[in-house]
Amino acid sequence: MSVQLSLTVNGKAVSAAVDARTLLVELLRNQLALTGTHVGCDTGQCGACTVLLDGRAVKACNMLAAQAGGAKVLTIEGLAAADGTLHPMQAAFKDCHGLQCGFCTSGMVLSAIDLVQRHPNADEKTIREELEGNFCRCTGYHNIVRAVQQGAAAMAK
């Protein structure tokens, strides 16, 4: 069964016809070629597929594309400014070495932004708890925590 839907992705209006079982992450990656959103598991645990849906972090592997009809989706590709200037959280991850292989990074950065929006003055414990839904196998989280702290400070400016 095919479903017709319209949504906004990274500020652009998108119309697509998808198989009803298509996941949001499949729409983003396969039809829209936004391959910066990654798939790391099939149980909604790893968070590599995290995108912002109407400003809120969601796991794009855990919802149907059809459920995103009418929504505003922001993926990692839409985060930096048009001139290439990195979002403060992206810049903080680079400066703090908060990424290694890069596979969890897009989800991690978008989760971090959501976290800071809800907890602008989060301490280390809060940051660690809030990042429970995003796995990183490379960094041991040490520099991710530092990056979120630095990114939060930069976002507050």
């Binding site: 391959t35 910066g36 645990q45 590709e77 990042l131 490379c138 040490h142």
Partner: protein
């Protein structure tokens, strides 16, 4: 590096690769799309051990969108997957090497064994079709435990491996060890399990293969750590193709940790099938498949003994280990519990005689191979658990027993076949103790006790052999290939430099570290250096990245190529400046006639090398592009001390990692930020093993019980603390960078440090032994067990 380092060496240069990852522009295998691409799905065995009576794929072949369905019997002319390391047993015979088919041939030997390949227009169609394949299985009894598999009456897994034995292998002087034990004042004995782990790189494995009819060639994108090895094994050993007909590209790779070293069945089947269907085929493992089919790690059962004199000086060590190979021999499986394990049992200590005997068995589980550290964490765990327990037994402080036995004279030949070139184990122990505030521990312990909590401190003074490998040594030990590395430095006409390295970066930051070396050595801007890796079509050759070898071996190959570039540049400069070659000095990116101000900039030399008007054509070829191969003369020996402090709630069994300090000696460091990041990640993986992770197969059915993130406990951000990391430097004596390697240290030191801390804490309530992972359930049970009157008797 000398005077030309332009201040870049030792600087935490921010990574060149980060922007593409931070903006979603990285290109991982599953991001690659070929025109007219099709999709693969592998039907896998639901049984741990079964005969295949019949496969009926008629429905699947007729299903919507399906191009083809292949089973084992279709793969005529396709050999099994090879093992790269021959172990010769104590009986003088080669190890048993049963076939490792690309698709099951009449039998499945583990849950997840690949039975059929479905190729369809979409991934959904391939999966739907696979569900209609009817496989008639005759289910056989299964065995999953490596010790049980060796017992009489265990299910026989391979005809070619009687009793499920791969080999029994030994290292060391058994008679001398027996004699030393006979004279010992004290003997400490322990039994331990090194728990089985599933690597879990966050990018699951994947591949995309394309066949080109025009020149009968193939292109394979694959999530892999060593594309040249992949190409060599797949073409020469399995598919019987000229290696030049296969280009292997390992693009951005989302973590490896060992699990992406190996030649796997899936990508091999894809390459083969891409010609059959004459369409490109893509496959991306979902996480459930990764759990079932990635090579797992560790899985040892060990009895170990340490003989000491009355002063706590080590006299001898005896270690008997059984290791699980899984259902088939993976690419390097056989050398992990032998060559990379027993050789490390001297640790940092002067133990004069050591004997180690290892029996490897086949079981109905996924293959087991190298996982971050690969044999060395297992060795460190044995040594440091023994040392901890001996100190407890003899009432000697943990740091003191280590100091009484440290090696302090180098080079030092161990009784287990290695020669350490350099090290300073007192320095890393002292610094780690400062970082961990060991002096403040009694006060913290008292504070915990007030709140009804148990607090413990654990040390691990580890050593590892990295920089794989001196090829003649590796060959003598059974490696079926040398372990060189290649580097090409191509100076472009305008003076920018492209480096082609056989090392592969899947998170390690080579694009930055290697660029720092090149920029420093040539005196050019780091922005003018591009590092290319992971493509057999562009890189001359390479053995890839594992065993913390990239900087020490791959980096050295680049340095040797750079030396050739500079030597040739000097010749060109001598001609242009009308001076003798011996009078030309190269410094800060300029070739200068010594004692004059006459010089040529690096870019002038590069331009002259390619598009000369005036060139000594009779004496020198144009161009400035040099390749070097490097074969190390010895292993490198990173070492250090890790100290872990835990707090345990005896009411719940929950272990909290309160502090973790690591002081490591990696030799010279090019980029401290990247090195610290490697330690952080390794420590988290090591703590994951000790605190959380455990791969469990059901003993009766052979089903994988920990087959998703719902059941396999991965370390999350709130499981680990921030780490204190520091370094001490004794430069490696046998490579020009003085580098030893840093990728695995964390995973090697951390499990032993943490479990020693757990044992220290639990000693207060009488717990003598607890195996990894120290989960709340296990800890609580151990506490309850120890509290029983019978346990106190």
């Amino acid at each position: 590096m000398g005077a030309n380092d332009a201040g870049l060496i030792g600087q935490s240069v921010r990574r060149k690769e980060d922007v593409r990852f931070l903006t979603g522009a990285g290109q991982y295998t599953d991001d690659v799309t070929f025109p007219r691409q099709t999709y693969a799905y592998f039907l896998r065995s639901p049984h741990a051990h079964a005969k295949i009576r019949r496969i009926d794929a008629a429905k699947a072949k007729a299903a919507p969108g399906v191009l083809a369905v292949f089973t084992g019997e279709d793969l005529t002319g396709v050999n099994g997957l090879p093992c790269g390391w021959l172990i010769t047993g104590t009986d003088g015979k080669p190890m048993n090497e049963p076939p490792h088919p690309v698709l099951a041939q009449g039998k499945v030997r583990c849950v997840g064994d690949q039975v059929a390949l479905v190729v369809a227009e979409s991934a959904h169609q391939a999966k739907d079709a696979a569900e209609t394949i009817d496989v008639d299985y005759e289910i056989l009894p299964a065995v999953v435990n490596c010790v049980e598999a060796l017992k009489a009456g265990a299910p026989q897994i391979h005809d070619q491996a009687p009793g499920n034995k791969c080999y029994t292998w030994a290292l060391g002087d058994k008679a001398a060890v027996d004699a030393a034990f006979a004279k010992a004042a004290h003997v400490t004995k322990i039994d331990l399990v090194n728990n089985r782990l599933i690597p879990n790189a966050i990018e699951p494995r994947g591949a995309a293969a394309s066949y080109n009819r025009a020149d009968e060639s193939y292109t394979l994108y694959v999530s892999n750590q060593n594309p040249h090895v992949e190409r060599l094994l797949m073409t020469a050993f399995v598919l019987g193709l000229p290696e030049t007909k296969l280009r292997v590209i390992a693009p951005d790779v989302g973590g490896g940790f060992g699990s992406k070293i190996y030649l796997y069945a899936e990508e091999t089947a894809l390459v083969w099938a891409s010609k059959k269907v004459n369409r490109p085929i893509k496959w991306a493992a979902d996480r459930s498949e990764a759990f079932l089919s990635d090579a797992h790690g560790r899985d040892h059962v060990t009895h170990a003994e340490l003989a000491l004199d009355k002063d706590g000086k080590f006299l001898a060590m005896r270690v008997i280990t059984t290791a699980n190979m899984g259902a088939y021999l993976s690419t390097f499986a056989s050398c992990i519990p032998t060559i990379l394990y027993a050789t490390l049992l001297a640790g940092q200590y002067t133990t004069p005689v050591i004997y180690c005997e290892v029996t490897a068995s086949f079981t109905n589980t996924a293959p087991v191979d190298a996982y971050r550290g690969a044999g060395r964490p297992e060795a460190t765990f044995v040594v440091e658990r023994l040392v901890h327990q001996a100190a407890v037994d003899m009432n000697i402080p943990q740091d003191e027993i280590r100091r009484r036995n440290f090696i302090r004279t180098f080079p030092y030949a161990t009784p287990v076949a290695l020669t350490y070139d350099t090290g300073n184990y007192d320095a890393t122990l002292d610094e780690a103790m400062k970082m961990a505030d060991v002096a403040g521990f009694p006060a913290r312990k008292a504070e915990s006790a007030k709140q009804g909590k148990l607090r413990g401190l654990g040390y691990a003074s580890y050593i590892e052999a990295c920089g794989l490998a001196p090829s003649n040594v590796a060959g003598a030990l059974g490696a079926r290939a040398g372990l060189f590395e290649a580097g090409e430095v191509r100076v472009n006409p305008t003076g920018s430099v492209t480096v082609f390295t056989g090392s592969h970066s899947h998170g390690q930051g080579h694009e930055t570290t290697f660029a720092q070396i090149v920029a420093a050595k040539l005196g050019i801007d780091i922005g003018n250096v591009e590092v290319v890796h992971g493509d057999t079509g562009r890189v001359p050759f390479g053995m890839g990245t594992y065993g913390s070898r990239s900087l020490a071996v791959g980096g050295t190959a680049i340095v040797k190529a750079l030396d050739k570039v500079i030597a040739k540049g000097r010749k060109i400069a001598a001609h242009l400046l009308e001076a003798a070659e011996t009078d030309i000095e190269f410094k800060d990116g300029k070739f200068t006639v010594a004692g004059t101000d006459r010089s040529k900039a690096f870019a002038e030399i590069s331009l002259a090398a390619y598009v000369p008007h005036n060139y000594p054509l009779g004496d020198l070829e144009p161009g400035l592009d040099e390749t070097a191969f490097y074969d190390p003369t010895n292993f490198t020996y990173p070492a250090g001390t890790h100290i872990c402090e835990v707090e345990i709630d005896p009411e719940t069994g929950v272990v909290t990692i309160a502090r973790f300090a690591a002081c490591d000696d990696f030799g010279n460091i090019i980029n401290p930020m990247i090195v610290e990041g490697q330690v952080h990640g390794g420590v988290a993986q090591g703590l994951g093993q000790a605190l959380l992770e455990n791969c469990v197969y059901d003993a009766d059915s052979g089903q994988l019980l920990t087959g998703s993130y719902m059941d396999y406990a991965m370390p999350r951000a709130d499981h680990v603390p921030s780490f204190q990391v520091g370094t001490k430097v004794t430069p490696c004596t046998h490579n020009p960078l003085g580098a030893k390697g840093c990728g695995e240290a964390g995973a090697i030191g951390a499990p032993a440090a943490m479990m020693n801390a757990v044992h220290d804490a639990l000693s207060a309530v009488g717990v003598a032994r607890i195996d990894m992972p120290a989960s709340p359930h296990r800890v609580w049970q151990a506490i309850q067990q120890a509290a029983k009157p019978s346990a106190r008797a």
